[in-house]
Amino acid sequence: MEVYEVDAVWFIGAFLPYVAFGVFCFGILLRIYRWLSSPQPTPWPLFPLRNKLATVGEVLTMKPHLKSDKSLWTIAIVFHSAFLVSALLHIKDFIAGEVAVFEGPAFYFGAFAGTAAVVTTILFWLRRFTIPRVKVLTMFEDHLALALLLVTLILGTYLRIFHVVEPQEVQSYIYSLAALKPANIPSNPVFLAHLLFGEIYLMYFPFSKPMHAFSSMINAFITNEVR
């Protein structure tokens, strides 16, 4: 068993992952529980009503925003799609490590998705300075959300494009975390920085507006219910 000194690498790679994962999971569950255990005393529908599939589809495709703000919708769809591709590639790396036949495309998908996510996050942030009806709404928490995201994404995209760590290294490390015996922590500073900001984002997520990932679905069903 590898024994680490209590230092930055240990803190970021062996201690914080568990804290971040725990806060992320329990935080989300607690927040959703708090929402769902609040009563909805009366129906509060918006017509026309949609069936369950259409309700989910409307949220996932952001259809209302397509009608209300096409440029925002475009940025948001590209951002969320890129985020999804990145997330899937992370899962691939965690579970399967290097998959020879897929590594070529994975590089291009990852590089493109990461770059698209960075660019769209910058565009989200620019909107907050350049569009009056957005500027007037912007508070510190909005800048914080974007700043954390942007730093994490820039570091991750750098890792992907410049192939800083091998997928096998990441897989080995993740497996060691899952076995509760952290080991083989990649020591590259860019990797550690990406990991640190990713952990901070995971801990920040349940307490912030990215929870719209869940509230949007809850609200969509509330406004579709007549009882």
Partner: protein, 438 residues
């Protein structure tokens, strides 16, 4: 804020600020309010869908999310992680008198139309946040005077106009005489009939200022052979508590339900009043605490059914003007009655032209959410909140605007005068009655 003032009474805003701050600290928010306060991404997309924002020339104080943020900041002071930390470290200031005054006034610049929510993927409900603000301050007696007086009148006399039972019965008798004179037939307005198919409930103002609407509905029911009644114990469909006061909302609902139940009808039919329909359809059962022993329908649903059942013979050539339809927000977007008025109008009028946008996406008349009742905001309604609707009407080149809500009718009359639109405002039932082939 702006140059208008909805609450002109003397208010100790400093004291109100402390009370509201405390109330928000202990707030037990319903689910949609919680998620709306906590997860709005502040993207600003809702502003471009708001008639008040657009009518003002995009003045940011009328941005729906900006208005919601006024309460959101207060909420987060007590309920967010950062807010609690700052409070614990004594780094968070409470709200001052100026802030609460802006909060109160801004809550009466929203017409509670929910169009903003319609165009939000997250379905953030700025209306619900605004209405919560109104409810929080109304608990301490702060609200526009007409709204307060109307609710007090309703609770003490059963109707907002304080019309006594004897006067109501006199009106009924008078309307029957008018119907006889007009049609030569004995068209009755049945009163207090037990077990009727339909208990008809209209805004009391329709019996006073729009009596032709009641007469027209009486004609339609007569020729269709409808078994119906009104009640001399309860003859006002409105519930202004829905706009600002939870306690009044529930009390008036309970009053309505008990008086309607007393006549044991099969269906409660709400006349041309948007918020009354929404309250009866969606709030009456959960807030009265009992299962309603009657269905609830809009007069529009009933007339549509009668036309489909061929119980009403209508000739659209009897209404030759170019006619458009204003979808009341509470009827279309919030109650789903969208096709029925169109079916009625297509059977009743020769030239029907849609506004754009229309249906559930229609713009508010500018007088919703009780704003039309607030005399102090007449200029705001005309200059700002009614502007987009006036432009919509002008674009249709219609000479008649039909609608199915008493508050919308008042607002549309006002903006027709203010913007010199020269349109006549009528009820959907009125056009159907005018198209009757007897």
């Amino acid at each position: 804020m702006d140059a208008y003032t909805a609450v002109r009474a003397e208010v100790d805003y400093a004291s109100l600020a402390r009370k509201v701050d405390k109330a928000v600290e202990g707030i037990k928010a319903p689910r949609l309010l919680l998620t709306s306060l906590e997860t709005c991404s502040k993207c600003g997309a809702c502003a471009e869908q708001c008639h008040v924002y657009l009518g003002s020339g995009k003045n940011e104080i009328y941005n729906p999310a900006y208005r919601a943020n006024l309460l959101r900041k207060l909420y987060k002071r007590h309920h967010s992680l950062s807010g609690r930390l700052l409070k614990a470290m004594n780094l968070s200031n409470g709200i001052n008198a100026e802030y609460i005054k802006n909060l109160v006034e801004s809550s009466y610049r929203c017409t509670l139309c929910r169009r903003c929510s319609m165009f939000c993927t997250f379905k953030i409900d700025n209306t619900l946040i605004t209405r919560t603000t109104r409810a929080l301050v109304s608990k301490h007696g702060v609200a526009p005077s007409n709204l307060k007086k109307s609710v007090e009148a309703h609770l003490s006399t059963g109707n907002v106009s304080k019309m006594p039972k004897a006067a109501f019965l006199n009106i009924i008798e008078f309307l029957e005489d008018e119907l006889k004179e007009e049609t030569g037939e004995d068209i009755k307005i049945p009163v207090d009939k037990k077990g009727a198919e339909i208990f008809f409930l209209a805004p009391v103002v329709d019996f006073i200022s729009h009596a032709e609407n009641i007469m027209n509905i009486a004609k339609l029911f007569h020729y269709a052979g409808v078994d119906w009644t009104v009640s001399s114990e309860y003859y006002d469909a409105v519930n202004f508590g829905a706009f600002f006061n939870d306690e009044a909302l529930k009390l008036i609902i309970k009053m309505m339900v008990s008086r309607v139940k007393a006549l044991q009808p099969k269906t409660l039919v709400i006349g041309e009043c948007g918020h009354a329909l929404r309250v009866a359809k969606f709030f009456a059962q959960p807030l009265s605490g009992e299962t309603l022993p009657f269905r609830v329908k809009s007069i529009l649903e009933v007339l549509d059914e009668l036309i489909k059942q061929e119980k009403l013979a209508l000739d659209p050539n009897k209404n030759k003007e170019r006619i458009t339809y204003h979808d009341p927000c509470n009827v279309a977007r919030m109650s789903g009655i969208i096709e029925e008025p169109r079916n009625i109008l297509k059977a009743s009028v020769k030239h029907f032209v849609e506004m754009s946008p229309s249906g559930a996406e229609n713009f508010c008349c500018g007088g919703g959410g009780g704003v039309v009742v607030i005399d102090e905001l007449e200029d705001f309604r005309n200059e700002i909140s009614g502007k987009v609707k006036a432009e919509q009407i002008r674009e249709t080149k219609a000479s008649v605007v039909a609608t199915a809500c008493a508050n919308c009718k008042k607002q549309l009359h006002e903006i027709s005068e203010h913007y010199k639109l020269g349109v006549e405002v009528v009820g959907v039932s009125d056009l159907a009655a005018q198209a009757l082939i007897r």
